[in-house]
């Protein structure tokens, strides 16, 4: 079908408008996203804890009604920390979090006993006798929604971004632990991903919290702290 002059102009104007609107809606270029994207691997320093406190990468689980700062926390009996509200993390086979892509873990995500098997980002840790593991999923296992690739941006040493696809697996169940949540919201204690970055050393710190929606841990929240060295993709 050949387009006449006015029809062509209409289509062209529509295409231009669509492109403009698409540009406005993109998280890459909007006002909210600032700084340059850091694409590569956020290599994790292993978590370490003693009587003085915790360093490196770790996770805490907060009970409903609690706060990130004060708890109450779900104590993980399998944590070796003096304060068992901390579960330390150790880098997995990819060395840590990779931005710009997904790290979904194996197809068979759980053992018959419910141990989570994903080991790219962190090594599976034990949480009340069952292994839990982290992956970044392209589709939310709970809702079936498509999720964006992890993205971290650096604005003069200040990190921000979205880790919506950050997913914990445990006992044959998945828990979205991303921020913002898959529907774009920051419900409950969910807080933006933020942190710091030293361009000279590559040292970074990232943290956020994310409230679970639905399931046995409905309204529980996870607080995540990742620390290590960023290595840009070649």
């Amino acid at each position: 079908m050949k387009l006449s002059g006015p029809s062509f102009r209409l289509v062209a104007a529509g295409a231009l408008l669509s492109a403009t609107l698409a540009g406005c809606g993109s998280s890459d270029d909007g006002e909210e996203a600032s700084g340059e994207p850091l694409v590569g691997t956020f290599r994790l320093d292993a978590g370490h804890c003693d009587a003085k406190g915790v360093t490196g990468s770790y996770f805490r689980m907060i009970q409903p009604g609690g706060t990130v700062e004060k708890g109450g926390y779900f104590l993980n009996p399998d944590s070796k920390c003096p304060d068992q509200s901390y579960s330390v993390a150790v880098a997995g086979t990819d060395g840590g979090l990779v931005t710009g892509t997904f790290q979904p873990g194996p197809k068979a995500a759980f053992s018959p006993q419910g141990d989570a098997l994903a080991g790219q980002i962190t090594r599976p840790g034990t949480f009340t006798a069952i292994k839990f593991a982290i992956s970044t999923q392209s589709v939310d296992p709970g809702t079936g929604e498509e999720l964006p690739r992890p993205e971290i941006r650096n604005d003069d040493g200040v990190l921000s971004g979205q880790l919506t696809a950050w997913t914990a697996g445990w006992n044959n169940l998945y828990f979205n632990q991303g921020s913002p949540k898959p529907d774009g919201s920051e419900k409950g204690l969910t807080s933006p991903v933020e942190g710091t970055y030293d361009e000279d050393s590559g040292h970074f710190e990232l943290s956020w919290s994310s409230t679970i929606e639905g399931g046995p841990f409905d309204r529980f929240s996870g607080y995540w702290h990742l620390e290590g060295t960023f290595v840009a993709a070649k």
Binding site: F74, L75, N171, D218
Partner: protein, 295 residues
């Protein structure tokens, strides 16, 4: 002529009113929104509401209790074996045990009620059981009322739909199942609340921490001291299964709070068979009234 038309309009008007009532009832009760939530709730509980699974939950609680009863005197007799996490768990366990056992008793006692409701036609279909015949009758009878016409084209479908509405609750055993479903809904009233689910989630956290203390602190100490502790060993051996079983149950309870509230806000299940029979019988009766001959 006008008198004749008016005389034939009576049945059509009456049928149209019944049709309108049927069509509007699911809208008025919010069934289009609530019935699918009920279906979801039934689905969520399906894997858990078997005799075997429910007996398993009770067995798990009994197993934990046996371990606590075994450990408490052993720990008391050996001050060297201590664990703050276990002490907290041991202190809280009587309340947890009583509440959880009572809850599981309640759930188990209503398993047959659940089965009865689950064996009814899919909840999602219920609003359509009223809306579809209602709209058909409303259209036919409305046409008859406006044009003043009456005939088999109106009365036959109305009677057939009336018979279908009367027969349906008998065919699916609704008179037997609906009251049992109502009883189950009554029993779940205290279970399916946000407060109760939060309490059970808290119990779960305490139990997980307590079992961890048993598994990682107490049991190894007892083993080193050569003290037999068979109930504790059994709990440790079964703990993964306990988690595998109890976590989905808490998940189903948590996910069903809103769904339960939606279903509970519908009229009582006991009335449901009558919601079919009453309008169905009316349709049949109106359809069977003799037609007035046109002058």
């Amino acid at each position: 002529m006008a008198t004749g038309r008016t005389s034939t309009r009576g049945a059509a008007l009456a049928l149209a009113l019944v049709g309108l009532g049927l069509a509007l009832a699911p809208v008025a009760f919010g069934m289009f929104q609530r019935a699918p939530l009920g279906a979801e709730m039934i689905q969520d509980f399906a894997p858990l509401m078997t005799q075997e699974r429910l007996a398993g939950f009770q067995g798990h609680l009994a197993g934990i209790d046996a371990a606590v009863q075994e450990i408490d005197p052993l720990v008391e007799a050996r001050p060297g074996i201590e664990s703050p996490a276990y002490a907290t768990f041991s202190r809280d366990w009587p309340e947890i045990h009583t509440t959880m056992t009572s809850l599981m008793d309640q759930v188990a006692a209503n398993r047959e009620g659940y089965d009865a409701v689950a064996s009814l036609p899919d909840f999602r279909l219920f609003p359509w059981f009223f809306a579809v015949p209602g709209v058909i009758i409303l259209l036919l009878a409305g046409y008859g009322a406006v044009t003043g016409r009456d005939g088999w084209w109106l009365r036959l479908p109305a009677a057939a739909l009336g018979v279908a509405l009367v027969v349906l609750p008998f065919a699916v055993g609704m008179f037997d199942k609906a009251p049992r479903g109502a009883q189950m809904m009554g029993a779940f009233q205290t279970i399916e609340t946000s407060e109760n689910v939060a309490r059970i989630q808290g119990y779960f956290a305490t139990m997980a921490a307590g079992q961890g203390a048993i598994r990682l602190d107490i049991a190894p100490e007892l083993a080193r001291a050569g003290v037999p502790h068979p109930a504790t060993e059994e709990l440790d051996a079964q703990w993964i299964r306990v988690l595998n079983d109890m976590t989905p149950m808490i998940g189903a309870m948590s996910d069903s709070v809103d769904n339960y509230q939606a279903v509970a806000s519908l009229p009582s299940f006991r009335l449901f068979p009558w919601f079919f029979v009453a309008p169905g019988a009316l349709l049949v009766l109106i359809s069977l009234t003799p037609r007035k001959a046109r002058p």
